[in-house]
């Protein structure tokens, strides 16, 4: 059914579960580095993400967070090292992966429903697909706008449609590149809780890039800070600076004292002391 499966070996991991059922996939980064010309962006990143774990990546602008996500999604090949999904190396796009970008990136000539349908796993029967698209648009609060074109809805609504498109895949790995950054503060909080609801219903491995420390602490099981060590020469690539477990059950209280102390630590590490 799917010609896009990267390697026969990648079937091994999902063999236990029916295809497309979206059982979470473990992600391993092994010595991943990426160089553009002479510019070393990432160097030697090692990271193990367990199946079903939610990991937030924090770091200064330009430290290669998005590059790392693109490598996981198979949109870019690392210069060194490898990315493994359930033990099989990512070579090309993997159908178990779904991406939501910083911008909605919806096809302007398709309706929101049509755009959401783009995310359906290849080979989904028509009727089932329609049902799933309608259900997801309902989840993200866009049921009434299914037939609207992207240009006739607000940026926040378009971004929600982009999230619906990613969820339509029933992804094993959900890759989110600052998906809520362009939303207004209130919508952002609503969307974070919506994402948590979806994850509670269907456990999924999530890699989330964000600039928002509070968002990372609200959503993630683990927060990974990427960057260059202080005093490192500028030509050195960024790597994992620090990993922080957030051992707090959902639903989390945004004003929790433990979170507050973690926030202070992380902000200090990011160069904003004593928040």
């Amino acid at each position: 059914m799917s010609s896009a499966v990267s390697a026969p070996a990648s079937r091994a991991g999902s063999a236990a579960a029916p295809r497309g059922a979206g059982s979470p996939v473990a992600v391993q980064l092994q010595g991943v580095g990426r160089t553009f010309g002479d510019h070393v962006v990432l160097a030697d990143v090692d990271l193990d993400v367990a199946a079903g774990e939610v990991v937030a990546l924090l770091g200064p602008s330009g430290c290669g967070k998005s590059t790392l996500l693109r490598a996981v999604a198979g949109l870019d090949a690392p210069s060194t090292g490898s990315v493994l999904l359930d033990g099989a190396p990512v070579r090309d796009h993997d159908p178990r992966c779904a991406v939501a970008f910083q911008e909605p990136r919806l096809l302007p000539w398709r309706t929101l429903a049509g755009n959401t349908a783009l995310g359906l796993p290849p080979g989904t029967p028509k009727a089932e697909g329609r049902e799933r698209v309608a259900a997801l648009l309902d989840v993200v609060g866009l049921a009434r706008f299914a037939d609207h074109r992207p240009r006739s809805v607000s940026g926040g609504m378009a971004q929600r449609a982009a999230l619906a498109r990613a969820l339509a895949r029933r992804p094993g790995v959900l890759v989110l590149d600052e998906p809520f950054a362009a939303l207004d503060a209130l919508t952002r909080l609503t969307m974070q809780d919506l994402l948590l609801d979806v994850l509670a219903a269907t456990p999924t491995t999530v890699l989330l890039v964000t600039h928002d420390v509070d968002e990372a602490l609200h959503l993630a099981d683990r927060v990974v800070v990427l960057g260059r060590p202080t005093g490192a020469p500028p030509e050195q690539g960024a790597g994992v600076l620090r990993t922080t477990e957030v051992e707090l059950a959902h639903p989390r209280d945004r004003g929790d004292a433990h979170l507050a102390s973690l926030r202070a630590e992380l902000l200090e590490l990011l160069g904003v002391p004593r928040a």
């Binding site: 799917s2 896009a4 999604a73 949109l75 796009h93 159908p95 992966c97 779904a98 991406v99 970008f101 911008e103 909605p104 990136r105 919806l106 096809l107 302007p108 000539w109 783009l118 995310g119 290849p122 992207p150 240009r151 006739s152 809805v153 607000s154 940026g155 378009a158 498109r165 895949r169």
Partner: protein, 296 residues
């Protein structure tokens, strides 16, 4: 055929295509080559309230009045400036003998067949050059050089190689239609929003699927702007073909009338070309508006 509606303005707008200005010149066409530029608020971006199209008839009517006035003073001999009535009479005369219909039919046929051939070739080669860096590197500069050749320069060569009859005329019109479509298609495909293409790839679209579902639809508005330019240019190249070697058609009517000193028929031919050019452009314009609503 009546001479009382003289949309000279329409023709002059098209004449800009003469110098090979087949870049997508309309801002809509240009913008359309890129991805969605989302305005913060909802609603149609950049739509300016349009005035009634009837305002476009004002200038032709004024010109017609001035024409009538100039001829009725008797300052100009009819061999230089025939009266509107004389042109109408000339039209009626040719129409009754079935000649005007024949000229119009054969010219329209040449434009549409030549346009279809040239536009199809432009789409094919433009897609190739727009999507493949190899094709771009190998073909780009040669096609650019051929594009710089003025339409009339092709005529002797076409006559020499293809001879008389329809083929050389259709070829010349096709050449005229090819370049605007080629240029707009290649540049639109080259400039499809990289973010959209990446989103398509992220959801498993590859090769033909990526082309048909993302790249081509994104290029549609610019390609249609190119088709519109190509149609205008087809009429220009048609007259070039018919001026030199033909025994029928509006371009022939023009040369024949020059030789016979029939200024009224020269006016008739020019006005007919203007009306036909404007009409065919209006049809494509309607199609363009529909396509922009559908695809942009």
């Amino acid at each position: 055929m009546s001479a009382d509606a003289v949309p000279l303005s329409g023709r002059s707008a098209q004449a800009q295509g003469l110098g090979g200005s087949d870049e997508p010149s309309s801002p809509r066409g240009l913008r359309a080559g890129f991805g969605p530029r989302r305005p913060a608020a909802s609603g149609e971006p950049g739509t300016r309230k349009r005035l009634s199209p009837w305002w476009g008839a004002l200038l032709p009517l004024v010109l017609l009045g001035a024409w009538q006035l100039a001829t009725s003073t008797g300052n100009y001999p009819a061999s230089q400036l025939p009266s509107p009535a004389a042109v109408v009479r000339a039209a009626g005369d040719l129409w009754e003998r079935g000649l005007l219909q024949q000229h119009i039919a054969i010219s329209a046929q040449r434009v549409f067949v030549g346009f279809a051939l040239g536009a199809a070739a432009g789409l094919a080669v433009g897609s190739l050059v727009g999507l493949s860096r190899w094709a771009d590197a190998l073909l780009g500069s040669t096609i650019g050089a051929l594009r710089a050749v003025p339409s009339l320069a092709w005529v002797p060569l076409l006559l020499l190689w293809i001879g008389l009859g329809e083929p050389p005329k259709l070829t010349l019109v096709a050449i005229g239609a090819f370049f605007p479509v080629f240029t707009t298609t290649a540049s639109a495909l080259r400039h499809v929003d990289a973010g959209l293409v990446e989103a398509g790839r992220a959801y498993g679209l590859r090769g033909i699927a990526l082309l048909t579902q993302v790249q081509l639809p994104a290029a549609v508005p610019a390609v249609i702007a190119g088709l519109r330019l190509a149609l205008a240019q087809s009429w220009l190249f048609l007259v070039a073909a018919e001026l030199l070697a033909s025994s029928i058609g509006l371009g022939y009517l023009l040369t024949e009338s020059v030789n016979n000193g029939r200024t009224d028929r020269i006016f008739l031919a020019i006005i007919t070309l203007a009306v036909l050019g404007k009409l065919s452009d209006a049809v494509v314009g309607l199609f363009e508006r529909w396509a922009l609503r559908r695809w942009a």
